[in-house]
């Protein structure tokens, strides 16, 4: 069942990457990037469960924090410039 979950999440990664590459303009790419990070983070936790290393949980948490800050910075940039 975990392997099926991995397949679903991988297919989601492919679709969101397609939108990231094609997306007609920059805000669409930012949305695709947001979704990509939100799919990659559970995959990191899954890697932690598979390998049995608790340190990967900290990696996923820091990744989530940095992705959030990046998306907010991008939104602020589209709104009124740096």
């Amino acid at each position: 069942m975990l392997n099926a979950a991995l397949v679903f999440a991988g297919a989601g990664l492919v679709l969101a990457t397609w939108r990231l590459l094609k997306g007609p303009d920059a805000p669409n790419r930012a949305v695709a990037l947001d979704v990509l990070t939100l799919i990659a983070m559970p995959l990191m936790i899954g890697a932690a469960v598979y390998s049995g290393r608790e340190i990967y949980l900290d990696v996923a948490l820091v990744y989530a924090v940095l992705a959030f800050l990046g998306v907010v910075a991008l939104a602020r940039y589209y709104d009124r410039g740096i």
């Binding site: 989601g12 949305v31 947001d34 559970p42």
Partner: protein, 137 residues
């Protein structure tokens, strides 16, 4: 490999599968929807629920890690709406158009009525505003 055995392991694996299905549906919405606001609607809500289910299921598989996983779930629950709201607001202010079949843009009309000039209501003068209101009523 997972620590838990028996019923709890099955429940955790099923939750993980359901959550990854939600993640896939969110990516499908990103792939298929016609404009940015629809994409954001599909992509944000489903990935929030998918994250909660997936991380909760994996936490059931590894009960020793549950506190840290709950911290991550709460963080995603707080920050995901904030980031999507900031992106949608920035896109609407910079004048990104709605999809072709869209019927109403209430935020642009309200801002025009309040005298706030943004990218979305640049070509919306008083006559066009009254016209739109009349059409709706």
């Amino acid at each position: 490999m997972p620590e838990t055995q028996g019923m709890l392991a099955h429940v955790g694996a099923f939750m993980t599968l359901a959550g990854s299905m939600f993640l896939f549906l969110g990516a499908l919405g990103i792939f298929r929807m016609p404009d940015l606001y629809n994409r954001m609607q599909a992509g944000t809500k489903t990935t929030t629920l998918g994250n909660i289910l997936t991380l909760g299921g994996l936490g059931l598989l590894m009960p020793g890690w549950l506190p840290k996983i709950v911290v991550i779930i709460v963080f995603v629950l707080i920050t995901n709406p904030i980031s999507s709201h900031a992106l949608a607001r920035a896109a609407h202010r910079s004048g990104l158009p709605l999809a072709a079949g869209s019927v109403v843009d209430a935020l642009a009309e309200d801002e025009a009525a309040a005298g706030i000039e943004t990218g979305s209501n640049r070509d919306l003068d008083a006559a066009a505003l009254a016209d739109r209101k009349e059409v709706r009523e």
